[in-house]
Structures are given as structure tokens and as C-alpha cells.
């Protein structure tokens, strides 16, 4: 289970602090909601950026709304970040799908990567993937989940997850080596 802002597991006291904030936020404590937003926002924005791209601000807002409105149902603080991750990825895919302006181009027509700005290149490559492909890539590459867990989080079969990941990685390889 990843700590916000990191891919590795966080120190236990951080989880204890978060659990306390969750309990206080559930009771309608606005300062606890503020502090929990401070903790979760970097994590949620990091997941939403590559999945929702130009709609990432909408996606981050929708994801946090879903998380905080579902907060009253959280019973197990140990499973909190896993639930936040699942909710965030689901909302990011939904918002990206809803606002999709064009159908992604075929994966084998990636243009040459000639830009001096690596960040722009990454964005360019991500833009050519569907939200679902970006979601599996984020769960594997940012979150470090194995394929089976990533498939579970996206409620897709392991075979579909494997296929999507293979195509997404192939896109990156082509872009970097072209």
C-alpha cells in the first residue's frame, strides 16, 4: 500500500496520523478535512495527471469528491490508501472518457520524438493512449502494482490487463527509440 507522494510503503506513524484525520473528518471536523486534503492531494493529482491529461484538474476534483463523500463508509484505515487509489483511478478514467475529444490514434502511428522537452514527449505519447491504457500504465509504473492486483483495481481480467499493458509499453518503447 503506497503512501501519498511515494511508491514505497510509508512509515507506520504516518498511517496513524491519517487514520486519526479520517476519524475526525468523519465527524465533520473541517480542519481535519483540510489536513486530509493536504495529505491526499499530491497522491491523487499524481495519479490523475497521466490518466486524464488535459482534464486532470477535473479528474482530481471528482476523485477527491468521491473519496471525501465516501469517507463516512471507511471502516478500515489500513485499507484506506488502497481504496483512495481505486477510487481515483476509476474517476480519472471516467472523466477522461467523458471529455474525450478524439479517438486515440492507432498505437503504431506514433510520430518521432524530436522534442527537446522530455516532459512534452511523455505527454505526447500518453495522449495517444486511451484512458484505460493510461490507467493500467499508471498502476504498474507509478504505483508498482503487479498485473493481477492492477487488474483487480480496474475490474478487468488479468488477460486484458496484460494486453493493455503490453500495448502501452510498446508505445513508449517505440517513442523513445524512434
Amino acid at each position: 500500500m503506497a503512501e501519498p507522494g511515494a511508491t514505497a510503503s510509508g512509515p507506520p506513524d504516518r498511517f496513524a496520523v491519517t487514520a486519526d484525520l479520517v476519524r475526525r473528518a468523519q465527524r465533520g471536523d473541517a480542519v481535519a478535512v483540510n489536513d486530509l486534503l493536504d495529505v491526499l492531494t499530491p497522491y491523487v493529482t499524481r495519479l490523475c495527471g497521466p490518466i486524464a491529461l488535459q482534464d486532470s484538474a477535473d479528474a482530481a476534483q471528482e476523485a477527491l469528491l468521491a473519496v471525501f463523500q465516501g469517507l463516512r463508509n471507511v471502516r478500515d484505515p489500513d485499507a484506506f490508501y488502497s481504496w483512495v487509489r481505486t477510487t481515483t483511478v476509476r474517476e480519472a478514467v471516467r472523466v477522461a472518457r467523458r471529455n474525450q475529444r478524439q479517438i486515440p490514434t492507432e498505437l503504431d502511428v506514433i510520430p518521432d520524438v524530436g522534442s527537446p522537452e522530455l516532459a512534452a514527449d511523455v505527454r505526447d505519447v500518453l495522449d495517444r493512449l486511451s484512458p484505460e491504457h493510461r490507467a493500467i500504465l499508471v498502476l504498474r509504473e507509478i504505483e508498482g502494482l503487479d498485473e493481477k492486483t492492477a487488474a483487480d483495481r480496474l475490474t478487468i481480467s488479468p488477460g486484458t490487463a496484460k494486453s493493455r499493458l503490453s500495448r502501452a509499453k510498446s508505445t513508449f518503447r517505440k517513442a523513445w527509440t524512434s
Partner: protein, 160 residues
């Protein structure tokens, strides 16, 4: 591989939408103001002046303590004493940083947020009551203008 991946941004108004929606009974309003963000936030940031001017029920709002040991250097954590129009008193925790002001007492929640929007500002205000039965009262206040009054008063103060 992921060092250059895009990261989403959540501006203070979007953040306030989340906060207001996550606490039952909090009323919320937002609007575009044709007033530059710097002017809006310079005014709001002086809470001892702005809070009594923007919130009708507050006669005075005085800072009595400052916590400087915050993780975010741009953030101030304050304690303020508010006196209401009827002489009622309350101690407020205040979280104040650029574009963000959250206030909470034992009974009341209030907040303001702002972010640049074109040449102007998107400004949000919210408020609610924390005690049992508060939600009903908030619904009554909401029906008579509620959080929109904060927005309207700010416009009156800065653009008379």
C-alpha cells in the same frame, strides 16, 4: 520512467468545492469577480478587517495566537476570538494561505477560496453549523442567500 509524467493541479476553489461537499450541511457559493486576484486576496488575507466586513454576524475578529511551525511555509495557523453582533463569543482555528481561508469554531465552519481566472478572480465562500439541528438552520439560511452573501459583500467592498 515516470519522472516527467504530467501531474494534475488542484486550485484553491476546486479544493473548497471538495471540502464544502464533504461536510454535511455546509452551504457553498462561487462566482467570477472582475477584480484582480492579488487585490481580492490582499483584502481577504487581513482577516481581522475582512471577516467582520464579509460575514454579517461577526462584529470583531481578533487574532490571539499564531502557530508558525507549519509544514507549508506559505501557511499560517491562527487562533482568533470572534465577537458576534449580540455579544456572543467564540474561538476560531484559522488555516490561512494564499487563496485559502478556513475557519472553525466549536459551533461554526466558514471558508473562502480564490484563484485567478482571466484578468479577474474565481471566488468561493462557504459556511455551516456544527451542532445538532445545524443542518436545518443552514437550509433556512441558504434559502435566504447564505454563502452568496459573502461573495456579494466582497464585491461591494472591493468594487463599490
Amino acid at each position: 520512467m515516470t519522472a516527467h509524467w504530467p501531474v494534475a493541479e488542484l486550485d484553491p476553489v476546486r479544493r473548497m468545492r471538495v471540502l464544502a461537499a464533504s461536510i454535511p450541511g455546509v452551504m457553498y457559493a462561487e462566482e467570477h469577480l472582475d477584480i484582480p486576484y492579488e487585490r481580492v486576496w490582499t483584502y481577504v488575507d487581513d482577516v481581522e478587517t475582512s471577516i467582520p466586513a464579509l460575514i454579517a454576524d461577526v462584529r470583531s475578529f481578533r487574532i490571539v495566537a499564531r502557530d508558525t511551525a507549519t509544514p507549508d511555509p506559505a501557511e499560517k495557523r491562527l487562533t482568533a476570538k470572534a465577537v458576534g453582533l449580540l455579544g456572543n463569543r467564540g474561538a476560531f482555528e484559522v488555516v490561512l494561505k494564499p487563496g485559502w481561508c478556513l475557519m472553525q469554531s466549536r459551533l461554526v465552519i466558514g471558508g473562502m477560496a480564490a484563484t485567478p481566472e482571466g484578468d479577474g478572480t474565481r471566488f468561493a465562500g462557504c459556511g455551516g453549523l456544527r451542532f445538532s439541528g445545524g443542518r436545518l438552520l443552514v437550509r433556512m439560511v441558504h434559502a435566504t442567500g447564505g454563502a452568496q452573501r459573502i461573495v456579494n459583500r466582497l464585491r461591494q467592498q472591493l468594487d463599490p
